[in-house]
């Protein structure tokens, strides 16, 4: 193994380096010096985000267990951008007295899950995939329970770890059956030896259920709302954007690479799951009062839309999925950014608290409105283009009914996405959330998210860039 081979793992290695650096600095930091970890981690992470975009070599490592390509690097870069914005938005919350002592943990835990996700994306066999999955999941439970003195946060952690233990079990069971019937766990060999045996079908479904759990597709979504509600806002935004996005990427990659021979079968599964997910997600989102819970169900419904891009199994579909996730990153982080800023300043997280917000915090209100419009898919913001492209890709493969159902669901979703807007702009409130000033990091995070929401739809460069790395079955 040469130095150049090791460089193939550039993303993972850099993340590990930053993680270790933060850990070591934390060991020696005392008292107020701890605060310096924040700019250190941010700058380091910004650097590796930028480095991630530099041209890289593609190839395989460890006998094909690990591989990189333009597509995987692109996906990792999307995740990096999201994590950078989340870091910026977390600063105000991390500086609170109660979190000061353990702020390094936050960075370390997030970075370690991110390494897991990168490994999942780059995995060339099921074993690596599973290792990545666990690396990504277990620290997440710790993150959800970050403010463990709060019952809800602790509850979120325990629920997440219990549920994912179950889903990992099922998935591992599926993988063991894959190995049992094909004699290999490598993606290429499994695809070659696939014989459509009944046991293999079972294996596929078990594996799929495990991934569906991560993306929180209905009916494997039940953990989502409780965990999202209980976890700190920034962890929730990480769960809903990065964790979900990476799992969607992995599901797409595995379906395209390992299961092309049963494409007719998994298209039917995805069809049913997509309809269920969009509809159920919407029905539950309608009645949520807690904004984190509200966004949890909204993110379930959005995950249903993602399946529209995967189902066509085309290169266009892959482009649209990656683009949608990117648009969703900016949009959802704009929404969560506002939530996080308000939560850090006042601790309020309910829709009713937002009544009359426009009077006191017009900029935050406008930003949240922008995010809601984008989630609902109103042109010309990013969310509109994301949905439009997904629908195009599904329609181009003839899934007209699915697109129709998706359009109906998008229409229904408009109702609840406008509820927060109504609360902020129309509803009267005797004592609304007082106006407050945010620090530099929060502002930068919000600005990045807003700029992305506005720009990536209008500027086509991003879409064309993604399209150049996409591949499909046909």
């Amino acid at each position: 193994m040469t130095f150049n081979d090791i460089l193939l793992m550039r993303h993972e290695l850099l993340l590990t380096a930053v993680m270790l650096l933060v850990l070591i600095v934390d060991l020696f930091a005392t008292g107020n010096n701890r605060k310096l970890i924040i700019p250190l981690a941010l700058v380091m992470f910004l650097i590796i985000t930028v480095v991630g975009f530099l041209p890289a070599q593609y190839g395989k490592l460890f006998g094909g267990m690990y591989e990189t390509s333009g597509t995987t690097i692109l996906m990792k870069n999307v995740l990096n951008i999201a994590v950078f914005i989340i870091f910026l938005q977390s600063v105000a919350w991390l500086k609170l007295e109660e979190n000061k002592q353990k702020l390094a943990e936050y960075f370390v835990l997030i970075l370690s899950t991110l390494i897991g996700m990168n490994l999942m994306i780059s995995s060339g066999d099921f074993l690596m995939l599973y290792i990545g999955l666990e690396t990504a999941t277990i620290p997440l439970a710790a993150l959800a329970a970050y403010t463990h003195h709060q019952t809800k946060s602790a509850e979120a952690g325990i629920k997440l770890i219990l549920s994912s233990a179950l889903s990992s079990g099922i998935m591992l069971y599926g993988i063991s059956m894959v190995y049992g019937t094909t004699g290999s766990v490598s993606f290429t060999e499994v695809a070659l030896n696939w014989a459509n045996a009944p046991l293999q079908m079972l294996a596929f479904l078990f594996f799929f259920a495990g991934m569906a759990f991560k993306i929180s597709l209905v009916p494997f979504h039940l953990w989502t709302a409780d965990v999202y509600e209980g976890a700190p806002v920034n962890v929730t935004s990480y769960l809903s954007v990065v964790s979900k996005g990476s799992a969607a990427f992995v599901l797409m990659l595995v379906l395209f690479r390992v299961f092309p021979s049963i494409v007719d079968h998994w298209q039917k599964v995805l069809y049913a799951i997509a309809v269920l997910t969009m509809t159920i997600g919407n029905l539950f989102a309608l009645r949520q009062q807690n904004l984190k819970r509200f966004l949890a169900f909204s993110s379930i419904a959005q995950a249903g839309f993602i399946l529209l891009g995967i189902i066509g199994a085309s290169s266009l579909g892959m482009t649209t999925v990656i683009f949608f996730v990117l648009a969703y990153v900016f949009t959802n982080l704009a929404a969560f950014g506002v939530l996080s800023a308000i939560s850090a300043a006042t601790g309020k997280e309910n829709m009713a608290d937002y009544n009359g917000l426009y009077q006191t915090n017009p900029r935050l209100s406008l930003l949240l409105m922008l995010a809601m419009f984008s989630l609902a898919g109103i042109p010309p913001v990013a969310g509109f283009f994301g949905k439009f492209f997904l629908f195009t890709s599904a329609a181009s493969k003839g899934f007209y009914w699915l697109v129709f159902i998706a359009v109906v669901n998008a229409t229904i979703s408009l109702y609840y996405y406008l509820l927060p807007v109504k609360a902020m702009f129309i509803n009267k409130n005797e004592n609304p959330i007082p106006s407050f000033r945010s620090d530099f990091y929060t502002k930068a995070g919000l600005l990045l998210a807003a700029a992305g929401t506005l720009a990536i739809g209008m500027l086509s460069i991003g879409y064309e860039y993604i399209a150049s790395f996409s591949f499909g079955l046909q």
Partner: protein, 640 residues
């Protein structure tokens, strides 16, 4: 080949200034917004002139043909691998010519407004809107494809709406801006359908491939027919409807006279020189497609243009409001341009009409902007739009007077002023094609000379009126644009247009046809003569004439009751006959259905909330049973 990518700056400068002054204009003194806008436009104009000089004179034709250069092009929205909307910049003879027209007139309007709008509330807003308009219009003329043009077309419509309604406290201005927006928007529906039909048949939006003689548009023109015309012809006719709406062609012209509610520099810029000729530009852009595949559509263009020009000229004879006279004159002259396009053939000398149309567009922009800015200067002096409140102003407004006279002579077609040359080519092309259209054009030339000099004499000659205070000449910042445009109006006729802007991009020799030129000058002189007799000195002749042909006079004064017809059709027929039943249906059937859907959704939502119990053991149970259910369904579906 020369690199023209710097032309991207030409639209981007006004955009930047719009964003700057629009977002933070209120933080500075208003005058800074005005100066910023003017400076930005100066830069844009400078770059446009450089581009024009390089394109026409330094680079010139390559192999006897002007190249069509895509200076910049990027895919903006991809529908399929072949069909995508691009954003880019197309450099070719007409776009370069329009660059010069738009930036010149816009710059003049910017400078002029520094004086004209001085002290107005909303001065900064006015300038930011002007920048927005300049950006949109430049984007429109530089568009590489029809969809990009459509996007900017709508942006131009929006900025026109904003500027017509600039005095938003005046109900008439608000009504006029709404009217302009709705009428043109209505016409744009035709444009959009046309674009969709065209792109569906040809699988491209791109102008170069749509107009290339080997391109898909021309190849598929022989395709399916509907009511005797090919799909391409229908598409092009629908696209022309969009152009007719923007260019105020009969019967979609009703918004233009009302649009004069906007500030006068806006009328000069948008409603005389640039936006209203967008329709002509659109047809010219697609001209090879019209000429080679859809001669029927071209006939429609010719007749609509010819009729509009006559119709508007007749109305202009009797109007009292000087801006409305000019508005109808604009409509009439644009009709001329449309007619010239309609009678033109493709290639070489056959394309005389095309060349003449573009030539007239250029000269008209200069002298009509001059007329409007002159009218603004007059209105500035006497605080009224009506010629009954004016008279004898030549003593008080010497510069305005001379420049206005030059413009009147130009539009009347007196040699060697620019209007003569371009109008002469149009008439020659019409004569070559169709004697009836030539007769219309010829008659309009006489009418034009008459009503312009009626206007001129009524304003500058005759009795002094009882002015509240002595009228005085406008400040230099307003008269300099007048003088500049007067020079342009005099000399722009000497540009060798047939060597620059032609239907097939190849230069050709155009000659002045004396058999057309002499009669057209004579009829112009006749028109001026009649106007001199009737209006030079106050007399009773006009009144006697008006009462002897009372019906015609009233019809013209009331603009042939077209507005009233629209009112009748919309209010009495559409609203009562169609909208009411639809409204009932909407309220009782559609709303009820929607309420039902809402009720179902909310009820289901509350019924199923039990699933979300918060019990993690229940979640696990659901998880396992879902997997089992999935397996069962799978077994059932694929058991064979």
């Amino acid at each position: 080949m020369t690199n023209y990518s710097y032309t991207l700056l030409i639209p981007l400068i006004p955009l930047t200034i719009f964003l700057l002054t629009g977002l933070s204009g209120h933080r500075f003194k208003p005058i800074y917004s005005g100066l910023a806008g003017t400076m930005g436009l100066t830069m844009a104009a400078f770059l446009s002139y450089i581009t024009a000089i390089r394109y026409f004179f330094i680079d010139g034709p390559v192999n006897g043909m002007y190249p069509q250069i895509k200076a910049i092009s990027t895919v903006w929205l991809r529908f399929t691998d072949t069909l995508h909307i691009d954003m880019g910049i197309l450099i070719d003879p007409i776009s370069v010519m329009m660059l010069v027209v738009v930036t010149t007139v816009s710059l003049m309007a910017h400078i002029y407004s520094l004086g004209y709008m001085k002290g107005e509330r909303g001065f900064a807003r006015f300038y930011s809107f002007l920048s927005l308009f300049s950006f949109s219009m430049l984007g429109l003329v530089l568009a590489t494809n029809i969809f990009q043009m459509y996007i900017f077309w709508e942006l131009v419509g929006v900025s026109s709406f904003l500027l017509i309604g600039f005095y938003y406290e005046k109900p008439s201005a608000v009504a006029a801006s709404k009217k302009a927006f709705i009428v043109t928007r209505f016409a744009d529906l035709g444009f959009l359908i046309g674009i969709l039909m065209l792109s569906f048949t040809t699988d491209t939006f791109d102008f170069i491939s749509l107009t290339s003689s080997t391109g898909p548009a021309i190849a598929s023109s022989a395709g399916t027919a509907f009511m005797g015309l090919s799909v391409i012809s229908w598409a092009l006719i629908l696209i022309f409807i969009g152009g007719a709406g923007k260019s105020a062609m009969f019967p979609l012209h009703i918004w233009l006279p009302d649009a004069m509610e906007g500030p006068t520099p806006v009328s000069a810029l948008i409603h005389a020189a640039t936006m209203v000729v967008a329709g002509v530009y659109l047809v010219a852009r697609l001209f090879p497609a019209y000429a080679l595949t859809a001669p029927d559509a071209l006939h429609v263009v010719a007749w609509v243009g010819g009729f509009s020009s006559l119709f508007a000229a007749v109305i202009a004879l009797t109007q009292i409001d000087i801006k409305r006279v000019l508005a109808f004159s604009t409509m009439s002259q644009i009709g001329y341009m449309m007619m010239a396009l309609g009678v033109s053939g493709y290639g070489d000398h056959e394309g005389l009409g095309y060349m003449a149309s573009m030539f007239h567009l250029f000269t008209h922009a200069m002298f009509k902007a001059l007329l409007f800015l002159g009218a603004g200067s007059i209105i500035h002096a006497v605080h009224s739009n009506n010629m009954t409140d004016m008279g004898g102003l030549r003593k008080y407004l010497p510069i305005t007077h001379i420049t206005f006279l030059i413009a009147c002579l130009t539009i009347a077609g007196i040699p060697p002023l620019s209007g003569f040359w371009s109008k002469d080519e149009i008439l020659a092309a019409a004569l070559h094609h169709n004697p009836v259209l030539f007769a219309i054009g010829f008659g309009v030339a006489g009418l034009t000379a008459f009503y312009m000099f009626r206007l001129y004499y009524n304003i500058f000659w005759g009795h002094d009126r009882h002015y509240h205070h002595t009228p005085h000449e406008s400040p230099l910042v307003m008269t300099i644009p007048l003088m500049f445009l007067a020079l342009a109006a005099i000399f722009s006729g000497f540009l060798p247009f047939s060597h620059m802007v032609t239907s097939d991009l190849k230069p050709f020799e155009a000659h002045t046809d004396l058999a057309v030129a002499i009669p057209s000058v004579l009829i112009a002189l006749a028109g001026i003569g009649v106007a001199t007799v009737m209006y030079r000195k106050p007399n009773t002749l006009p009144d006697r004439l008006a009462s002897s042909i009372k019906v015609l006079y009233t019809a013209s004064l009331r603009k042939f009751w077209i507005d009233e017809i629209y009112q009748f059709v919309t209010k009495k027929i559409l609203f009562a006959g169609v909208s009411r039943p639809i409204a009932w249906f909407d309220r009782h059937v559609i709303d009820a259905t929607m309420n039902l859907v809402g009720w179902v959704v909310v009820t289901t939502s509350s019924k199923i909330k039990g699933f979300q119990s918060g019990q993690v053991q229940q979640y696990a149970a659901v998880f396992i049973s879902s997997v089992i259910l999935l397996v069962l369904v799978f077994v059932y579906l694929f058991s064979n």
